[in-house]
Symmetry: C2
Subunit: 182 residues, 2 copies
């Protein structure tokens, strides 16, 4: 489960802590896309760990050092929105940074299947998370087909008249790809 | 006054809202360095405006559209820590982005006086905020001397044995530069 600013602004970090406590078996990702100086990132990660998160998304382009935390780190390498032009020119360097920092996972937008393929080739052991499925235009299963490990789906389910049906449709498409692959 | 993640993790957004209410005359900057997709940034900015902030710091490299908010926007163009290598190669493009987006201010690290001079030349009417004074190595007054409008000083005052004396020392140095300039 991915928690970001929108929910945190409504519930506060205390509210988020309670929800995480109620569902301890999920993998909780702090999606605040941290992009601060390393001293501050270290401090924030410690705080997010105390809130109960298992992993945190950080931006790689800001430049980092290795952090002293128990939680997993997921670095943003490519974003899915049309305005994200800077990531294209820096993609290879951001993959280098992911490798150098030894992150556990990377984020590559699902609308960029060619980038997912390249990231998978360059970093075979790093988990790839792909947002941008549904509302932003990528078809469910398409990022997994390109080599991602997880697709992140938000608005197309949350905004649906029948969220349960929509979630099942997404899972069905993903299963189709996974079974076709194995 | 600049409020970021560290304080927010301790006090929550409710706590921050109370402090802002107690000091309505200050200019309150939300320093969460937003770096998300435009739909989410728009949503977060609305939330931060409700908390009471006057301005918000956003990262420019993620790519944006124009936002529908009343608060001022301050875009990060260059960061002050030694690991911030990506900003150097993209500096001109980030200044273009600041211009395109019509931000009210930009952030240029105080440890990069040559970048402050270049930003001032390129964007004469945009306010320049320079963090990195004190703990990160830049001398008080040095960023203002290079063309910045405001220096952001945190740890060298907060971590001082005599914060009041340290703050006065900083202001004294800045006044020296400002008077020398006019």
């Amino acid at each position: 489960m991915k928690v970001g600013f929108p929910i945190t602004l409504s519930l506060g970090f205390d509210g988020v802590r309670e929800i995480i406590r109620d569902f301890p078996d999920y993998y909780w990702i702090a999606d605040y896309k941290l992009a601060d100086i390393p001293e501050v990132v270290q401090y924030i990660l410690e705080g997010l760990e105390r809130v109960g998160f298992d992993a945190s998304i950080i931006h790689l382009f800001t430049g980092h050092r290795r952090y002293d935390v128990g939680m997993e780190l997921i670095g943003v390498v490519a974003m899915s929105h049309p305005e994200a032009k800077f990531f294209r020119g820096n993609f290879e360097k951001l993959l280098d940074e992911a490798e150098l920092l030894g992150v556990d996972g990377i984020v590559v937008g699902a609308t960029r299947p060619e980038m997912i393929r390249e990231a998978r080739r360059r970093l075979p052991d790093v988990r790839i998370f792909s947002p941008g499925v549904g509302a932003q235009g990528a078809e469910p299963g398409s990022a997994i087909a390109a080599g991602a490990d997880f697709e992140i789906v938000g608005r197309s389910i949350l905004g649906s008249k029948n969220p349960r049906l929509e979630a099942m449709r997404v899972v069905e498409a993903q299963r189709g790809v996974i079974h076709g692959r194995s």
